[in-house]
């Protein structure tokens, strides 16, 4: 059908864009082509996002594999934006460090396509493909910068553990399939309908969950996160920390909505424990960090804990809260890791928190954005993070998860200490030495501006986004 292919356009654009860049890269000389390729990649993102906006209301289903609807359109736009901002942030960063080129751009676009695939899939197969697309792309991206021992280590660790996790997911899917005979996500979650194979089904789900929890780094599957976030180049970390997690969170939302009470009843206690552990371990371990990317890694672990808490409230606007918060989280972390990248000198990332002394005055704009992001992560008002925290806790309390919410609140209080510590270092401790940074390119400034605008607008006028999110949750709950 005509419309079906048409509705796939965002995905096609991304994949084609990536391929075209690969091809062009083969023909063009590296030094001359960077701007062109970069422009192409940016246009690809814009086109993909734009097409997703324009086709959002086409009721498209691709052979029961992909649902191209408001839900996936929303996520497509989100991923396009995340990718766009990543590109803007990494252009100069990568150029300065000599790993900017066709393969860098192409792989990022492929990863973006993988994310879109994950968000759009209503079938395990495209989901698996998307997951692998994202993962494999990221293995490469992390190690992109040659000769960086930390990056190599990060890539090795991420690859090894990611591969194991993927294996878990695949085996889990196989079990589900074995139990239910279908790869359709919604149908395969029908615990009530497959009483005979209940154990197999749950075993499969369990394996899948392990894989997914690993990907969004819930405790105790979180150990790779700090290492990988620290080792990867900052813009890549930004992409990795936001894109993958948001994509997988969309899957979590789907699972929660599709699974409903029957699955929820089985897994809720486990998720409860994981959410609590994640919040506690994430926040407390962050207290001891002296490296900013590691700190942000633990902070992002903790954020996942908050989201799991809200996910438990899947009947009380929890999914909407999770989606909203994942949007908030995406831009906040993009900003945080992005500014870390922008503030870094050429040879390596500025990682030790102590090195940020006095940067608030040497680099006021970027430091201000970092501060803003940190405040948003901490959930202070007028930032997006505050509204995000509010919707999460509202959902959790509405569903009577009072104990969990209390743990969350206490940990949020605790977390302020290390968040503030960054601010303290930026503004309140005198600089010891000043390192001259290269002037930031316009594209990165644009990215910063975008992020700041989004954080503020979500913090002050979240109403529009919330409406959209309510619609899409509504859409997947009542297909």
């Amino acid at each position: 059908m005509q419309t079906e292919w048409f509705s796939l356009l965002p995905l096609i654009i991304l994949a084609t864009g990536g391929s075209v860049i690969f091809c062009l890269g083969a023909f063009l000389r590296r030094q001359e082509s960077t701007a062109l390729l970069f422009g192409l990649a940016v246009v690809t993102c814009l086109a993909s996002g734009g097409s997703a906006v324009s086709f959002r209301n086409l009721p498209g289903q691709l052979s029961g594999l992909l649902a191209i609807d408001v839900f996936s359109s929303f996520y497509t736009v989100l991923f396009a934006t995340i990718t766009l901002i990543t590109l803007l942030l990494s252009y100069q960063y990568a150029k300065n460090r000599g790993f900017f080129g066709d393969e860098f751009l192409g792989i990022i676009l492929f990863a973006a396509a993988g994310m879109v695939l994950i968000a759009a899939s209503i079938h395990w197969l495209p989901f698996f493909l998307g997951l692998e697309m994202v993962s494999i792309s990221l293995y490469v991206l992390i190690a992109m910068r040659r000769g960086d021992s930390l990056a190599i280590e990060a890539a090795v660790k991420y690859f090894t553990m990611g591969a194991v996790a993927s294996a878990f997911v695949v085996f889990g899917i196989a079990m589900l399939y074995g139990a239910t005979g279908t790869l359709d996500i919604m149908k395969s979650l029908d615990v009530g309908g497959h009483v005979d194979n209940r154990f197999l089904l749950l075993f499969g789900l369990c394996l899948i969950l392990v894989g997914l929890c690993f990907k969004i780094s819930l405790v105790p599957f979180h150990l790779w996160t700090p290492d990988v976030y620290q080792g990867a180049p900052a813009p890549i970390t930004a992409f990795l920390a936001t894109g993958t997690k948001v994509a997988l969170l969309s899957m979590f939302v789907r699972l929660a909505v599709y699974g409903g009470d029957s699955v929820g009843a089985v897994f809720a206690p486990a998720v409860w424990i994981m959410a609590a552990l994640t919040m506690v371990v994430g926040n407390i371990t962050a207290l001891a960090q002296t490296q900013i990317k590691r700190l942000l890694a633990y902070s992002s672990i903790a954020q996942m804990g908050y989201m799991m808490m809200a996910l438990l409230a899947f009947k009380h606007q929890g999914p909407a809260a999770v989606i909203f918060y994942s949007v908030v989280y995406a831009f906040t972390d993009l900003g945080a890791f992005g500014t870390v990248g922008l503030l870094s000198p050429n040879n390596s990332d500025r990682d030790a928190i102590a090195d940020y002394k006095g940067l608030g005055y040497a680099q006021p704009a970027k430091a201000a954005l970092l501060t803003l992001c940190v405040f948003s992560l901490a959930g202070l008002p007028t930032t997006a993070g505050f509204i995000g925290k509010f919707v999460l806790f509202r959902a959790a309390l509405d569903a009577n998860f009072i104990g969990l919410a209390m743990i969350g609140i206490l940990m949020a209080i605790l977390s302020l200490y290390f968040y503030l510590n960054i601010v303290v270092v930026l503004y309140m401790r005198p600089a010891e030495k000043t390192t001259a940074l290269k002037t930031t390119g316009n594209e990165a400034i644009l990215a910063c501006f975008l992020i700041a605008t989004i954080i503020f607008s979500l913090g002050l006028f979240p109403s529009f986004t919330l409406t959209v999110i309510e619609q899409i949750v509504d859409h997947i709950s009542n297909p």
């Binding site: 553990m161 996790a165 369990c206 392990v210 105790p220 150990l223 962050a286």
Partner: protein, 627 residues
Amino acid sequence: MKTALITLLIAPLLGALYQIVFGNRSPRRLAEVVSCAVILVSFVMATVAFFLPGQQETIVLGHWITVDTFSATMDIHCDSLAAIMALMVTFVSLLITIYSVSYMSHDHDYARYFAYLNLFVFFMLVIVLADNLLFLFLGWEGVGFCSYALIGFRYEALANARAGRKAFLLTRIGDIGLGIAISLFFVTCHTLSITAINAQATSLSAGAAMTLGFLLLWSATGKSAQLPLLVWLPDAMAGPTPVSALIHAATMVTAGVYLLIRLFPVISQAPEVLLAIASVGTATALFAACAAMVQRDIKRVLAYSTISQVGYMFLAIGVGDIIGSMFHLLTHAFFKSLLFLSAGAVIHALHDERDITKMGESVRRHLPAVFIVFLAGSLALGGVPPAAGFFSKGRILLATLQHGGMAYKAIWVCATFTALLTTLYTFRLFFMVFTGKPAVPRKSGIRAVPQLMEWVLWPLALFALFAGFLNLPHLQAGGGWLAGYLAGTPGAVADLHATPSLEWAVENGDSLLALGGLILAYFLYGPKNILGWRTLDASARKATTWLFSGFGLDRLYEIFWVTPYEKISQFLWHTVDETFLDQGLLRVTNLFPLLANTLQGFSSGILSTSIKMLLFGFAAFLIFLAV
């Protein structure tokens, strides 16, 4: 009348404002003139108020606080009591302000001094005239503040500042009583107007009346330096002498007495309170008289004597004779300010020498005028007939004797004994200052006293000698003009209705007592030093040291109040606030980094550990599923 009263009240305030705003920038002479002039205006207005008929008048100056049923207005109520008090206050203030001009002529900080002084007169007049208790409280605390500021006027010496602080603190402890009393008045009478309260005094329940009475007594003891809050007054002598004369002799210390007289209808509802007042008064009188016996500082002698005399006023209230109390208050104001001012002249002449053991014959020779007025004052204070003190004290002793009950008889004995002591210490002071050889040689010479200072003393001396005629007993056929004037005051008993024989006996007894005291003093402390006590005082003995320090009351306060207070303060600060609350919290929060370090141990960065952790998580999941 209205204008007169308002002018009476406002003029000193305007004077103070003038000093505050223009003060040091205006010519010195102008500042002095202004400060005297405003008091003069007040005095004239007070005279008008005093003589105008139809005195009972309440004037609302303004609404102050109205919330719900609570209403405090700034209104003044002028009856005969207030009028005569106002007259006395303005008169004494006027003389003392004039005296101050001369006394302060070498001080550069005159603007501040006159500002405080004028402000003080204003606040004092507020106390005198206020009808609303809260407005009275304004004056009440205001005079406390001025007293504090003036005692510590010469701030360079910390001792002065400390004395001021002590005065403020102890009077404010008394003020709490008044504050609570005001609250209780509001709760029980639903009004704070003194006239209204007095009107419904009889409808107060016994308990309320008693509580109120004790609260008022409490507040009066603070302001009037009675037991147990008297220790501030001797120290207050650190202030300039005119201040001592005005605030700590004539006016402020009698404010407590005045308050009790004002609210006598309430107090009289509770006989227990009356007895308490009488006892406190007598005890204080005796106590202070004993202490005055051994003081060597001329001003401290006078300070203790003030305390003692105010005790008499309390006693008078305690026996229900508020006219007697008022009578003594007035005469005391005259002769005590006279004594203080002449003492000030002596001190001035001797280059700030206050030790009476270093004075003697030469003082009289150089300052003959001061000698004469001081003698007049001493006669009045010593109660030698026919000076003022004789009649006022006599009326109090008579009233006490007439009052029934054994307790009052005992009080009468004490009071009479105190009268003897009074004569004794008065003339001890007199003899030691003006006669004989100094017990201790003095280094400094004697200079002349400025004319202005001397000039002021004469009218006071006249009053000291003859103010007694304001209210002559029946025996002298005086008819008691003052009693008649004050008869309209609520609760006043104009006539004591004593039998002539009793009156005769008391009067003669008192005369004999006074003369006896005088003669005894002559033997003990006279110029001839017949019994040798004159020189003995200079050397410290155990008993006298004890008396000297006011029965060690200061020390008691030190041990039981000041030291513990400071210790508690330090304890709360260091132990509770810093160690327990602050450090404790810090210690609790320090647990988190510890915990963080422990948790950090899990993420060792070793790949196989991470994988094992993953598998462990999976296993946990499975186990969970199985369960």
